[in-house]
């Protein structure tokens, strides 16, 4: 039974393929592809009428919805239906209502060697009788270049030397670290495993130089370079929050909690391209595309327990550029 059905299916496929093939080969015998058939079936005319009427009704629906109850979904449905009905009407028109035509048009030749010669000749004639041709051409060139420069120079208004801005940060020794609301951050408020965003007191929070992340780690695990020995009081570390790869905010903190994952050191991760910076060794790149370590901010804790900068950032904040001094 199954076999018979299978055989029937194969036969059917073969027959269809044969049919398609035959049609194609018939057509190819006739080298003149031009053909025209006319005569619209009655059903097509009726269908187009119905579709056009429905288009008008749907459009009216959209108009009244817009005035009465502009709900996004309903508006989309109404206008979408209007356009879809119009599309259907147009397609039925083009396929069944109007004469079906296939035409052959001669493709125009593009190249015309005679015309090229004539143009060359005419262009040459335009300079007839001028003796100091080269000098004039040179002068015209100079004039053109001058006008171009005059038109282009206003672009300079976009920026005088703003490059100093790229190096600037608001951090210097003694500046307090504050939170989102401007309240000073206490050293005791930063727990191991937590991740706090801090800003330079009284600085613009949107200034790339300002935001830092503060984390606390076990002091015994620190592997900071020797010249940064005093930068992490109580194991508190601060790094620029702006990724040195592409300026996104570092907003992920990998802080292994279970013994099975503690083989990997705590790291700051940028969510844009997943540059991963080692917290313990001074912000070195552990994975990802960043080419430079995260700048570190040396910290101190004042008598009131408030976190303060103990000096400037260790390097330029944010992405690198040609000639920066990192």
């Amino acid at each position: 039974m199954v076999e018979r059905a299978w055989r029937a299916l194969v036969l059917l496929v073969l027959w269809r393929l044969g049919g398609l093939r035959r049609q194609r080969s018939h057509a190819s015998e006739d080298d003149d592809p031009t053909q025209r058939t006319t005569g619209a079936p009655v059903w097509a005319e009726r269908l187009v009428l119905v579709l056009l009427a429905a288009t008008a009704a749907a459009a009216l629906g959209f108009v009244s919805l817009f005035v009465l109850d502009p709900d996004t979904q309903l508006l989309g449905l109404a206008l979408g239906a209007t356009l879809a009905l119009l599309a259907a009407a147009l397609v039925v028109c083009s396929r069944w209502l109007v004469p079906q035509e296939t035409k052959a048009e001669r493709r125009p030749g593009l190249a015309d060697a005679d015309a090229v010669k004539e143009v060359e000749h005419a262009a040459g004639e335009g300079l007839e009788g001028i003796t100091r041709r080269r000098l004039l051409m040179g002068a015209a060139g100079a004039a053109g270049a001058g006008v171009a420069a005059a038109v282009a120079i206003p672009v300079v208004a976009l920026g005088p030397g703003l490059e100093d801005q790229l190096r600037r940060t608001p951090w210097h020794a003694g500046r307090a670290l504050v939170d989102d609301e401007g309240a000073p951050i206490l050293a005791a408020a930063v727990n191991e495993g937590s991740f706090i965003t801090a800003f330079a007191q009284h600085a613009d929070k949107d200034d790339l130089g300002s935001p830092v992340v503060v984390v606390r780690v076990d002091r015994s695990t620190l592997r900071l370079p020797s010249q940064r020995a005093g930068w992490a009081p109580e194991g508190l570390l601060a790094y620029s929050k702006i990724c040195t790869h592409a300026a996104c905010a570092i907003s992920l903190y990998r802080s292994p909690l279970s013994p099975s994952t503690q083989a990997r050191a705590p790291a700051l991760v940028c969510p844009c391209h997943y540059s991963t910076f080692d917290v313990l060794n001074g912000g070195g790149v552990e994975f990802g595309p960043a080419g430079r370590p995260l700048p570190q901010l040396p910290l101190s804790i004042d008598a009131a327990g408030v976190l303060r900068a103990a000096g400037p950032m260790s390097g330029p904040v944010g992405p690198s550029w040609w000639g920066d001094g990192s």
Binding site: V91, Q100, G323
Partner: protein, 497 residues
């Protein structure tokens, strides 16, 4: 025919013709022939998407406020009540929640931008794989590639305008990429942004004028030139009955094609409006306002930037420093070098093809099927495979969120795939093309006959000995050969079998 002058009250056509001589041009348009193939509609879909973009974008511009002036939100969206945000973001919320049809217009605009660039890309693939970029269409091909680049810029500028969290993160990356340009990076980026990122308030205004005037005006002008050049050269067409290099066979503009194309316009617009009405896209109110110190995880850009974020992510942490000074910052490789190479290859394709691949300097108006030129098809496929791998790598973080694949391992996998996939795809595509070309004669039975031709005495003469001999080593065969000489044999085979 009446000897009286035709009255314009009765005859608007005559009215126009007497003043502009338009009838002759209309006559040309009415007879203008469009060859039929579904793949020719891709460019039209891009064109109609552009129209929808202009219409929906104009509506949005009536309400959008391109300003980063900070204000406190007091609009209708409760979760953001009392938050500090820019006027640009607040007006985007206003468009989404308070303007009648505003959210529909925003979502239609966004979906259409996605479809616009998708249609251009598919159109480009069609052009590349059918050899439609060959002389005389190389000029128009350059314009098309330029429009693709402009469309990507235009899309990114639009995505960046609302000043929501994701648009800000995108701009931060764009700024870093601008900074990474050799020699001029620092001054160039600071000049463009009016300072260090996030830049001066004027930057939003610069972005706006680029998005609503400079880039769309350029695109519109190039579209006009693109279409004018098509009309001068006429459309290319696939080989077929009666179709030759020196003619165009198809449906004339009036009535068949004009109605069909208008139908396509309405259908494209219908789909886009339905998408805009029913499928949410970029709900900026959920992302919140942007500040340089906030970020989110698992964010993805619009699809057409996926290949750039992928390139930035795949690049190892190479950064070239000399004497303590940076020379080549890392984002240069993924953000500048990689797209420059891809576009350079696209621009160079006509020259590469005529000089090295096809070694053919002649004019061509008949298209090739991909299998007709296996070497070109395979080369193009391998380049697109490399780009596709990088594109896929752009969503590696989503692979982690959805399926739990480790991020770092996946990056190494994609780095390997980037190196291996092109070679593999080249080999596979080439084999596939050659097999397809061989099996052209019959899809079911392999052809094992001989090629014969009728001679003057009415007999048959053998032209090529065997199947293997009948197919050239490259697998390419002219369409005339395929359709002309083979046919009698195929029919004879059917009669026998």
């Amino acid at each position: 025919m009446s000897l009286l002058p035709r009255s314009h009250t009765r005859d608007p056509l005559a009215f126009v013709d007497e003043r502009l001589g338009a009838a002759r041009g209309l006559r040309f348009l009415i007879d203008y022939v469009f060859p039929d193939h579904w793949s020719f509609l891709l460019g039209e879909i891009a064109l109609y998407s552009f129209v929808v973009l202009v219409a929906s974008g104009t509506f949005l511009a009536l309400f959008f406020d391109p300003s980063t002036t900070q204000l406190t939100y007091h609009g209708g969206y409760a979760p953001l009540q009392g938050q500090a945000m820019s006027a640009a973001y607040a007006s985007t919320l206003h468009i989404s929640f308070a303007v009648s049809g505003g959210l529909l217009a925003r979502q239609v605009h966004h979906w259409t931008a996605l479809v616009f660039i998708a249609a251009i890309t598919l159109h480009l693939l069609r052009i590349v794989f059918t050899g439609a970029f060959r002389k005389p269409r190389d000029v128009n091909y350059f314009i098309g590639v330029t429009m693709l680049a402009l469309a990507i810029l235009e899309g990114f500028a639009g995505y960046s305008l609302p000043d929501d969290l994701l648009s800000g993160m995108g701009l931060a990356i764009a700024w870093a990429v601008a900074m990474s340009l050799p020699l001029i990076g620092g001054p160039f980026a600071t000049a463009l942004w009016g300072g260090r990122f996030p830049g001066a308030d004027a930057f939003e205004s610069r972005l706006y004028i680029a998005h609503v005037f400079l880039l769309p005006a350029l695109l519109a002008a190039l579209i006009a030139v693109h279409l004018a050049i098509i009309m001068i050269q006429r459309h290319s067409q696939f080989a077929g009955p009666g179709r030759r290099e020196d003619n165009v066979v198809g449906t004339p503009m009036w009535p068949g094609y004009a109605l069909r194309s208008l139908g396509l316009f309405a259908a494209v617009a219908a789909v886009l409006v339905l998408m805009g009405g029913l499928i949410q896209v970029n709900p900026v109110w959920l992302w919140g306002p942007y500040h340089p110190y906030v970020g989110t995880n698992g964010a993805q850009p619009d699809w057409y930037l996926g290949w750039l974020i992928g390139a930035l992510r795949l690049m190892p942490n190479l950064e070239i420093h000399v004497l303590g000074h940076t020379i080549v910052p890392n984002p240069f490789f993924g953000g500048v070098l990689f797209p420059s190479i891809v576009f350079a290859l696209l621009y160079a394709l006509p020259w590469l093809d005529r000089r090295f691949i096809s070694k053919d300097y002649r004019r061509h108006d008949l298209l090739q099927r991909p299998r007709d030129n296996p070497r070109r098809t395979a080369l193009a496929a391998s380049v697109f495979a490399a780009v596709a791998v990088v594109f896929a790598a752009g969503s590696v973080d989503r692979l982690f969120f959805q399926f739990g694949f480790g991020y770092e391992g996946a990056i190494w996998f994609f780095r390997g795939a980037f190196l291996l996939a092109p070679a593999l795809v080249y080999w596979l595509t080439r084999r596939l093309c050659i097999e397809l070309a061989r099996n052209d004669a019959h899809p079911l039975r392999r052809w094992d006959g001989v090629v014969v031709a009728r001679n003057e005495r009415g007999g048959f003469e053998e032209l090529a000995a065997s199947r293997a001999g009948g197919v050239s080593s490259s697998g390419a065969r002219s369409s005339a050969n395929r359709r002309g000489v083979r046919r009698p044999l195929r029919r004879r085979a059917r009669r026998c079998g």
